[in-house]
Subunit: 361 residues, 2 copies
Amino acid sequence: MMGNSENEDPLEDLIINYNELNSSVIEELDEEPSALEFMRFVARNTPFVVRSGAANWQATRTWTVNYLRELLRDESVNVAVTPAGNADAPTPYTSPDDGTTTLVFAKPHEEDQPFMTFLSYLISQEHRQQSPQTPSQATTSITTTATGEIRYAQTQNDNLRHEYLPLFAHVPATIPWARIALARDPDAINLWIGNSRSVTALHKDNYENIYVQIAGQKHFVLLPPVCHAAVNETRLRPAVYRRRRMEVSGGGEGGGEEEGLELVLEEGEGEEVPFAIWDPDRPGENATRYSALVQPMLVTLDPGDMLYLPCMWYHKVSQSCSPEGVCIAVNYRYDMDFTGPLYPLSTFVRSISSKALQRAE
Amino acid sequence: MMGNSENEDPLEDLIINYNELNSSVIEELDEEPSALEFMRFVARNTPFVVRSGAANWQATRTWTVNYLRELLRDESVNVAVTPAGNADAPTPYTSPDDGTTTLVFAKPHEEDQPFMTFLSYLISQEHRQQSPQTPSQATTSITTTATGEIRYAQTQNDNLRHEYLPLFAHVPATIPWARIALARDPDAINLWIGNSRSVTALHKDNYENIYVQIAGQKHFVLLPPVCHAAVNETRLRPAVYRRRRMEVSGGGEGGGEEEGLELVLEEGEGEEVPFAIWDPDRPGENATRYSALVQPMLVTLDPGDMLYLPCMWYHKVSQSCSPEGVCIAVNYRYDMDFTGPLYPLSTFVRSISSKALQRAE
Ligand SMILES: O=C(O)CCC(=O)C(=O)O
Ligand SMILES: O=C(O)CCC(=O)C(=O)O
């Protein structure tokens, strides 16, 4: 039988069978698909990239740093601030009470900043460290900003049609082949502006996602929905960074007060967040016995590239900057179709995985 | 969370979640879909029926019994012969050695018959019993044909382009929207000729199926692939009917020899056949603890109706005859796409189901 390996463990077989039947190399198109061609990928829940599909967009052609400054001179924007580029990420938290360390789900400190301030900060931080470095994980719950806090404009609330409205005219209002195929308009169109210090941790969304690179590069690590048992989904307490003035010893002026970011557990009603804690870039840590079976799909987007990221695929995203020192992307999110077998089946894989991993503990 | 019920048993949740998110009433179109519209149904693995979609086909308009006799006057055709209309069906078998009865997978006796003989047999049998009756299950392994054996032309080897070639010009050589959407030609185009005594037992295929009613009616009971745990898949020994002359007592001329059908186990290499033994029309028999959760989708096809039967859906099919006493259908089968998550996920559901049901025994 095709793709029916005969191991003992159905979760293992699931990943192995999937790998046998599917390539882990992304399909590359050299022009945009028709609505029907797109729908075939949606039906297979399989990513593709259109190289240079958005190369002629006004955004891709014109969004230099100076031009953005001009267009958004008087705007304020919402910024996610973290010590290590770890907005919405599993993060070690050390309890001030008993000194024990656990993983929590760290949300960024969010604040409005003048766009000019935000952009200059990103760029000068990027240029200070010539070779982009992998953000280190925050290992304490209090971090001073002496080493430089990390900022990322990553609101996902349809920001390009609200906060960044002056830029919206520079991208298509819809992606025709996606709109026609999915028979709906995008639920959100979002702009992402960051530098190489931010990483989006592995997670999945209930959206069909058309992700378009404008400046710099994004590096996606993609895992199909069948890999649930590999990502070690764990219930994490939610915590949030907040700014705090704190004592520092040493430093340039021999100690004193400095602004820092403190990770604070959310109290009371704060429900635990089920979240993947396996990181495909550190495969030996927080792994399950299924993690080694996964064959991640790796794709780097260059300016003008468009990625179809199907609903429910796990994705981890890191970034490199343009020569100007920024990384800019726009994505179109469409509500997924919850009818058909895929959504209930993915819930099913999730509960079988969680039972299997609990049993093993 | 949408469609996430919180029972203990993931297999139960799977069926319940599916039912919450999907209608068990088939979608009805009143004209043929475009390739894109069709692809949306393929993506959702969801059936639909186009009422009267094939009403203008030459086959639908012209295939009277007399016209078929004229076209196929000199042809021989392959006929499946069974005592109870149970070709390829779970059937009780009583061992001649020890008298024990077990379910086996009964294949029909197959033989070539002049088309004229076959058709006359079907029709006169149908007209003898005015009100179509539900075929009774064969309960012994030897059945005389005194009550009338059941014949069904049901070869599924692309017969309309081979055995029945003279008829092929009366149907479209392809279904354009299916060919364009699936980007392939049909793997097989099959003709089905039977009467109300034949039933096709619940099973599933790895094909996308466009099923078109020409004369009479077909009654489909459809279950989605997520219902695997409900159908009680069981490994059955294969057996085949063969003709045999046997002694009969009584009867019109006070006993003598008569032709009968004997069910014979296949020897040796005959591998066991995993087959659904639950029958949604007799829900209390051979049920699993999941069977009662299933909400079958019922659809009757009238002449000219076209059904999209998605790959991997369980289907049981019974039939009613036209006033002329026959039931005729044509179907187009397209190889399914094994890429994407659906095929490995359905294999996964199957192995979890089989483990769960074994545990319960
Ligand atoms: O660009 C990023 O940092 C993350 C993108 C993402 O997670 C998404 O589009 O869903
Ligand atoms: O028409 C029938 O009797 C059965 C049809 C069927 O099983 C199929 O088309 O796969």
